[in-house]
Each structure stands twice: as C-alpha cells, then as structure tokens.
Symmetry: C2
Subunit: 477 residues, 2 copies
Amino acid sequence: MTIWNVEQAIALTRAEEDQNIARLGDFVRIESVSMDPAKAPQVMQASQWLAKELGRIGFNNIRIHETDGHPIVTADWMQAEQGAPTVLIYGHVDVQPVEPVADWTVAPFDITMRDERLYGRGSTDDKGQVLMHLIALDALMRTGGGKLPCNVKLVVDAEEEIGSPSLLGWMKANPELVQADFAIVSDSPMYDYNVPSIGTSLRGIVNLEVRLRSAGGDVHAGQFGGAIPNAARSLARILVSLHDEDGRVAVPGFYEGVPDISAEEREGYEKLPFEEKAWLASIGATGTEGEAGFSTLERTWIRPTLEINGLFSGHTAEGTKAIVPATATAKISCRMVAGQNPEAIQKKVARHIVSLAPANVLCEVRELSIVPPAAIDHRMPAVQLAVDSLRAAFGTDVFLVRDGGAIPAVAHLKDHFAMDTLLMGFGCPDENKHGPDEWLALLHFRKGIEALLAYWPALAQSAGASTTTTEKTRISA
Amino acid sequence: MTIWNVEQAIALTRAEEDQNIARLGDFVRIESVSMDPAKAPQVMQASQWLAKELGRIGFNNIRIHETDGHPIVTADWMQAEQGAPTVLIYGHVDVQPVEPVADWTVAPFDITMRDERLYGRGSTDDKGQVLMHLIALDALMRTGGGKLPCNVKLVVDAEEEIGSPSLLGWMKANPELVQADFAIVSDSPMYDYNVPSIGTSLRGIVNLEVRLRSAGGDVHAGQFGGAIPNAARSLARILVSLHDEDGRVAVPGFYEGVPDISAEEREGYEKLPFEEKAWLASIGATGTEGEAGFSTLERTWIRPTLEINGLFSGHTAEGTKAIVPATATAKISCRMVAGQNPEAIQKKVARHIVSLAPANVLCEVRELSIVPPAAIDHRMPAVQLAVDSLRAAFGTDVFLVRDGGAIPAVAHLKDHFAMDTLLMGFGCPDENKHGPDEWLALLHFRKGIEALLAYWPALAQSAGASTTTTEKTRISA
C-alpha cells in the first residue's frame, strides 16, 4: 500500500515552479487557434506536444485520434490499488483567436509574468489548467514510486473553442476511453481571486440566426423610402418583441423546464461576497439590466436568457449611403439551464420569430449549434473532498457556485455516460478569457496544483485504497 | 437672325448615333468613382475627358477648377442673339462604386447594348445624360453655323455621388460662372419608360449616425448575459421608437414646415398611371409600408421620411460567437420636403434619439451631411416649353411630377442664386441607378436628344431671340 506524501510533492512542484512556467510557455507558443483553418497544423502540434508530455510523465496508451475536425488526445494510467476510483480528466489544447492583436500589451502567444500574473493566450483557457493537472500527476508519480493514487483517463479536446463538434460522436464510438466514476474539468474561473469554488451547473447554448429580406436588393431611399418595408426596421421590431417590459423573454414556453431554486439556495447566493460595482467596472459597464425579480448572480446562473450577439444590415462602412436595406441579419443565442430541452427551446424561439415577421418581409430563421446545459450532483463525495483540498491549499472558504458558461463535454458526459463532472476551475472572473491580455493568477497556478496534489490521495483514501501522510491541519485549514 | 432647322439637327444625331454611343463608352470606361480615394486620378481623367469634348464642340472659357475634393469643370458659350436667355446646365462625371461586381451581368465600366438598353455604370447617372446635352448642343452648333440659340453655361461636378461637399463653397466664390436665368439638370428618371416628365421638387437628405456603448468591449454571454445592457437590443429599442403605429415619424416637430398639398394636386396624383404591383416587382418587393393616410406616390414625393440605412453590432462574421455586444451603430437618413429646415430637423432627431437611450448605455449621435430639399417654380415658361419639347419628341403626354431623390446643386441654386431648375431627366425608374446593371433606355437616349434639340430654339424663340423651322405638328404632337 503506497503512502502518499503530499508535502513532499508540494515541495517538488514549488522547487520546479520556474521550469513549469517555462513549460507553459512552450505550450502557449504553439498557436493552436481551432477557429482558423490555416492554423490546423498548429492545433495538431499542440496535441502532439501534450501527448509527448504525457509520455514523459508515464501515462500509457497515449493516442492522437483523428476526427473530421481537430484531433483528440487520450491516455490513461490504470494501475491504482484495488478499490481506487477511476477519474476522467477532460481539457482542451485549442485557443481562441488573438485578434485584435493591437489590444494586447504582451506577446499573445507567449507567457509573460507581470504583477504576479501569467499573461498569454491559453494561460487560463485551457492550456494552463491542463498543464496544472499534468504537473500534479507528475509530482505524485515521482514522489509515489511511479504510481498514482487513482486510475486516471485523459481526454483532451482540440475543438472546445468551436463548440466541440467532433467530441460526442467520438465519445460514443470510444466509450471505453471515456467511462469513469466521474470527470474533472478545470476550465472555468474560481469565484474570485483567492476565493476557490466548485461549479454545480453550466448553462447550455442555443444559437440562431435571423435573416430578413424585404426586396431583391438595397434600393434608393429617395425613390422608395417611406413607402416600402425597411428590413433593418423590421428586424429591430422583431428583436424588441423578444423581451417584455420586465426583461423576461417573451417567447411562449421559453421558461419551460426551468427548475425551482430553493429559497435556501437563493439565500445562499445573497451571502456570497459579490461586489456588483466592481463586477460591472471589470467590463466597463455602469449598470445592470435583466429579468425583474432576480439578482445579478441569479440572472447569470439560474435563469435562461436570450441575447443578440450580432446585427448587420445595409450600409455598414464609413460614410453615408441613402438606401433602404433589403436584408437584415441578427445572430441570437439563448442560455438554457439544466432541466430545459434545448432543441425544443430552439424550435420555439425560431417559430416565434417567424410569427413576428411583418407583412411583406421574408423571414428565415436558421437553427444553429446547441450546447446542452448540465447540472452536477454536488452531493457526491468527490465534491466534498475537492472542497476540502481547495480549502487546504488556499486557506480560505470554498463556495459551491453555478456557472453561466457552457462546456459541451460536461453535458455529453452527463447525458450519454451518466457521469457527473467536478468543475474545479482555477481562473479568475476578470481573466480576459477570449479577449486580449488573457491571464492566469500565479497564486492560482501554484495553489491549484497544491489542491490537486492533496485531492488525489484524499480521493483514494476515501475509497479505502491508500493512505496519506498529509498533515490533517493542512487538510482542514 | 439664325434660323434653327431642328429636323436637320435631328437627322444628324440619328446618323451619328453609333458614334455617340461609342463616345459614351469612352466616357463610361473611365472609372470615376468619387467615393473611392484610390480612384481620384480617374475622376480627374473624366473631368479632363469632358473638358476636351467641350473644346471639340466649340465651348469657350473651359476650365477645370481644383477644390478640396474632386474638380469642377466649367465652360460657356455666350454669343447668342440679343434677348436670348442664359441657361446653366449642371451635371456630374462621377459615379457610384460598382460593388458587388459579381452581381453585374455586363462589364460595369463599359457600354453594352442589350434589349435596346445601354448598360454600364454612369450610363444614366449621369454620364449618359450629360453627354446627351453635349450631343444636342454640338448638333445645333453644326447645323446653326457655329451658333447656339441661347447663352449656355456649364458646371459639371465630380462629387455629386458623395453629396457635392465642395460645390456650394465653389459656387459662392465663382458666382459669375453660375448665375443664369435658370438651370437645367438631367439627372433623374422620367416618370416611366417612354413617359416623359418634368420634376417639380426634390426631397432633401439629413444624415445621422447613432452609436451606443454599453461596456468597454464585447463580453462573454455566459458570464454576463442576462444581467447587463445589450447594446444591440438597446439600439433596436431606440430604432423602433422612431415611428409610431401609423408609420409616422415619432420625433417631436419632425413634420414642421411640411406644406399642405392642395386637394387638386393630390387628386392629380391619383390620375397618374401608376402600377403599384409593377413598381414593387421592379425592386423585388411584395407590398408597401408607410405613413397612414398617404398613397405610395405621396409617401415618396411629398412626405418627409426617416429610414435606417445600415446597422451593425457585435459578431457579424460567419458562425456563432456567444458575446453580449458592447457597441451598436445605426446609420439613419431622413428625407425632407421643401419648406422644412433640414438643420433644425437634424437637431430634433439627434436630440430625440439621445433622449430615448436606455439607462447605462452611452448614446452618441453624429450629425452628418445635409442636402437641402428644393421646390421648383413649375409655372415658369421654361417648364411649359420643356413639356412641349418632350411631348414632341416622345409623342406622348408629359407629366409634372415630384421626385423623392435629392440633388444638392438644385437646392443651392435656389437658396443662394434664386435660380429655379428645370428637372428634365431621361432615365427610367427601374434603371438600377447605384446598383449592378445600371442602364439607360436607347429610346430615351435618342428621344431625349431630340427633345433637347427642339427645346433650345423654342426657348430662344419664346424670348424673341430667334425663329425655328421645326414643324408645328411635331411640337404639338
């Protein structure tokens, strides 16, 4: 029976922190932008870099699976002691584009340390967090005689930033590489800087595109203006009708399936440290706006929403052009909460929009991609152990929080493999994910690794598979 | 006293029609797109081409005036017999861009004859119509012993398609090159194919741009969606509020100064041949929409309007992007009728839009260019003579009509030189002006020249300056 000396592993990762940051730099310098077809070779290169790291650490069955899109990397280590759980780690090596490059104050594809932050594209989303797992497992392996406390499978995507289009099909074709007792995903922010949290739900996404056509082409506003439908105005009228005066989405049946949140949970939200002014200031906004009767956290966590993501019609270049535009397009996305049927909601929104189209205007609604919502069973013991490990590493309270975002893999694991996911993210809410100057807090990088080092032995121990010498005082700090 | 033999001049232009069309081809092949700064040399080249033609015909004092923008060409012929009126011909050599080029079925910068139409950019707007004047004056000069029936000044703009920004300042600095008894502008469509008309008013234009900002930059729709203002939705709400349910513009004071149109004139509109279905079909529209209580002709001729010309916000590229857009822009133009104060209306619209901006959204309204409206004194004898000449050439009734469009020069001549303008256009309503496959009807090219050949001697004769041998039967056909 292996005795896991977590203190020794922590000391090792602290000693090697500079090397590990350098390793993150190597990873970030690979420009693996999945949205850019021209960068497909770099996406493959990032997958290969990861596979090589996994081999160095001692993982087995390392494979790079081809898909219709970018590759998926898998590996495992399945020699844990009897009774130890099997855990799937999911992450991704692809990143968002870096445009507008001029808005970065550091090199986008490199790691720059400034003010205790690690800046660079992918530093937090998700290369940095994937690497934190590898660093922790490597340290456990090296301080545990080449062994790990638990069986570990890895599935590392390279299409997460484009909605993981290949993932579900690949998972269904390779269930043996996916199935585990539960999954861990580190691809989200903590509740706040130095305030660790575990996510309990993710909102899904339903995308739609509305296209109106009122004439064969743009026409002269002098000759025809005032007498024919204006596609841009018709679109504005439709868009305005999608919410009522209380900020509720006015699509019939839109809130179907939204679970009642207990008064207890809602009261819990009120007790969370939340500085609305700072939250607004972080994005340069001056006030909130949303569904009446719900707080800001509730609006982003437990309520479905409908947002316009983009609009265009007629003359969009500099200067003036006296036309009545013949076409107008809106991009719309809805966030769904667990319990809702995204396909059904998508059809309802599409049908409703078509029903709002004014006379003499053609209205086409394209039903685009869907990411299902997901709720996690936060009563599972793995969650409580994670709370303990985070509390130990960060020395502060840990919150169970919901997340407004979406990760396709989490819904797929729940819906198709009955697997819950431990959402243990190490980012920060104002980390500029997807924007210029993306960053990961050095403190989170360090403490996150230490939480993971504590977590794996604790998980094995709770299953009766091994023991740990980690000082109890640290665990319960 | 010169005897003008109009029949001889007509025979000459008929005999030379192929050469004249070839000459139009030379003019159209010069890519004089005033909106494109890269094409400034071609705009200059078009002005030079015109100046050379004027010299060939026998005009005097030919000058190419530099401005802050594109040049203005002037010339005159002032040796008419005593008592002959002095007339200013205004036109322009610049053209609209040809994008999207793929939508053209002919070479945009060339003349292609198909189905009795002359296709090409500028064929009708305005190179073709400018050239028709030159062809008529050339034929009169050659059949009249090197003389013209009237004194003629020419002012040919190269910035009409960008709102003639240099014109008024240049006119004020050069009044002697402008002042005349009245002006003739051929830069508009006839009432219908083979249905000649004289314009009696032009609607002015007031341009504005609305920019909203709700955050420092686009933000993640999962993290913030549902809880902060969405700039695109805020814009849609403003735009929808600009009209009431009856299609009236809901800006306080918007209709100030709109003259009452006599019941007699409105009844006259009803008697005009107007096939609404064909009018709609010509632009691929299926129904009308506009201010309650007014017919389609009234909506485009005698009522001010407010149209959205363009919209953009957030993600406008292919695919989906789950953001809450931080900015949204609308381009708006209003049409004003003569009697209204465009500067005052612009301020009212701008102020009203700012007052509609929702909380926590910054709203900036830029007051852009203005083209004043213009009404013509259609009782002046020059108009009646034009009606006669058109009736003679086309052999059909001539209508006095209003025009929904705007020509800056016409308002400037009225407001600053007290000059009325004879709006004698030879285009067609469905001529694709500003769009792909712009065309001029060969019949209008031919008959328009013949109408001009009849017009000049008749004008001189009415002033007692000369006589004409034109058969009376043709004049009154």
